[in-house]
Symmetry: C2
Amino acid sequence: MFEFEIVCEDGESGARNGRFHTPHGIIETPVFAPVGTQATVKALRPADLQEMGASLILSNTYHLYLRPGDELVRDLGGLHQFMQWPGPILTDSGGFQVFSLSRSRKLDADGVTFQSHIDGSRHRFTPERSIAIQENLGADIIMAFDECPPPSDYAYIKESLMRTHPWLLRCLEAKRRSDQALFGIVQGGIFPDLREQSARFMMALDLPGYAIGGLAVGETKAEMTAVLDTLNPILPRHKPRYLMGVGAPEDLVNGVLRGIDIFDCVLPTRLARHSTAMVPGGKLNLRNAQYMRDPQPIASDCACYTCRHFSRAYLRHLVLANEILAHVLLTTHNVHFLLELMRQMRAAIAAGTFRAFAQTFLANYA
Amino acid sequence: MFEFEIVCEDGESGARNGRFHTPHGIIETPVFAPVGTQATVKALRPADLQEMGASLILSNTYHLYLRPGDELVRDLGGLHQFMQWPGPILTDSGGFQVFSLSRSRKLDADGVTFQSHIDGSRHRFTPERSIAIQENLGADIIMAFDECPPPSDYAYIKESLMRTHPWLLRCLEAKRRSDQALFGIVQGGIFPDLREQSARFMMALDLPGYAIGGLAVGETKAEMTAVLDTLNPILPRHKPRYLMGVGAPEDLVNGVLRGIDIFDCVLPTRLARHSTAMVPGGKLNLRNAQYMRDPQPIASDCACYTCRHFSRAYLRHLVLANEILAHVLLTTHNVHFLLELMRQMRAAIAAGTFRAFAQTFLANYA
């Protein structure tokens, strides 16, 4: 269980094709995981996700703990059964959402007390509680409970690591289920020495996978890339590496170039709800008047259901008429777009042409 | 074109199985047409509708005229191409919406002037204008422009018929396309003599189909049934009969018993958006706390995508979390429910058991 096979490596970069074995199937990496915050990838049915080739999806511990409750999900057979996703699932630890969504939170060495963003009710998360909730949910990959500090406050991050590292030990201690892989989360902001310190601490524990947290939270693209360049030679080659919360196309390519295997992000689903379609080199806002009579699909070379059928003019009409189908069709396109990009990257790595693929691709995003 | 074959008739009632030939395929009757007001059956993709066996769908002239505009739809290849529905489409005349949705309308013998419910802009519909718009949209079945008066004001309805009947003649005169069937709309409220007068007027014109309008707008169930009992022996046997705006399950069965071939209604899609699932004998409101931990599907004998996969507990979670997927899955179930009821009625008519089917079915709605 949780074997990570490296199928092939790109000689010129850190990119590699892998196969991560989970109780609900093999994840071909590099992979993008669509986000199903509340046990649904917004606007998509599981059948739609399967049709577009999704393998891993992510769901949120903080949200599901608050609503409908992790014990309810457990009693209904666990998250796979509840949301009818037959493939692998990853749950985050709830830490990130506590620090970004909840109200009046109080952090101490043992955990964090907070108020629900839904109804203001009081709750407490500790490493043990996060693991217990994630065991009730039953995802294949679960995450260590940690703090996600602002990326450029050296003193604060250094202090935060002193909390987060012991919390990882407590997560490992609390973990009971053998059918779940617990990943540690390397923190350290934009500082190479702190990142290395955090990575070394976790590597000593020989975890089944390593996440990189605390990025895509306000630092520059160059700072993000520098962190990946720091960690690429340090993290063990034979374990999957997960860059949390990253989903901009250029960041996916830059991540794969630097040895990242797993990504997740709300970007494709969130952009869709803001009437925006992802296309090579940028975005289209379907609200714009220029698409009023445009008979073309969003992208002429896209094979998604939306592009195989509908004009930009029709999509614009659905957006302006505030129709639910606008969300369905734009989400379909955006998620397909990122899954297709990952397929192209896997194929280029297999063909030994990834460096050229990445250069051409990134030139479009310059 | 527009041949109506009667495949078999139920000896004991007015029910019949027919095949109505249209440029976009054959409609097996009796049929229920899901409503796609703004060129989309709310929350469903055309592929979903096809998978659940929809044949005819309805769209609204008033809405599409205002947004995105009938000329834009025409320029993009017509409504079938625009919304990517390959099967038959019916458009109403816009009359009903002008009288129910628009603001500060003024009716005269020639037509009606009104303000858009969207932006308050001023517009005028006449019989000629309604036909021109419907020809731009390009549906297979188009409707005569008429007034839909309150059902129980005898004097007003009598006067309204004096406007509506000449309008039908003007619609016929204005009509240019031979690939569209123009149906007349029998009005007359709850009054048998006015209904008969309206039907006789239209039958003299040998139209390809006859609609019954002005029902399901406030009269009692008994009054609706009485109108159908009046018209069943009068309307010609060899032409399709369309009961407009009716979609409650018991009304569908009562309509088929009285010779109705075509129905449409927003009920299944609207109920879905109000968290309500249609089930034999009634409705479930998925918001209710009683479904919080209910592992059952909405209906155990339902073969729709929703019931094949999801528990009431999951659907309730989606509803409370205000997830788009709640609308998608509940709409899928409700539309499937009515399409399946129509399939069962067609099968019972073919098997010569329709009277018994109807009695058993209606007993559940008593």
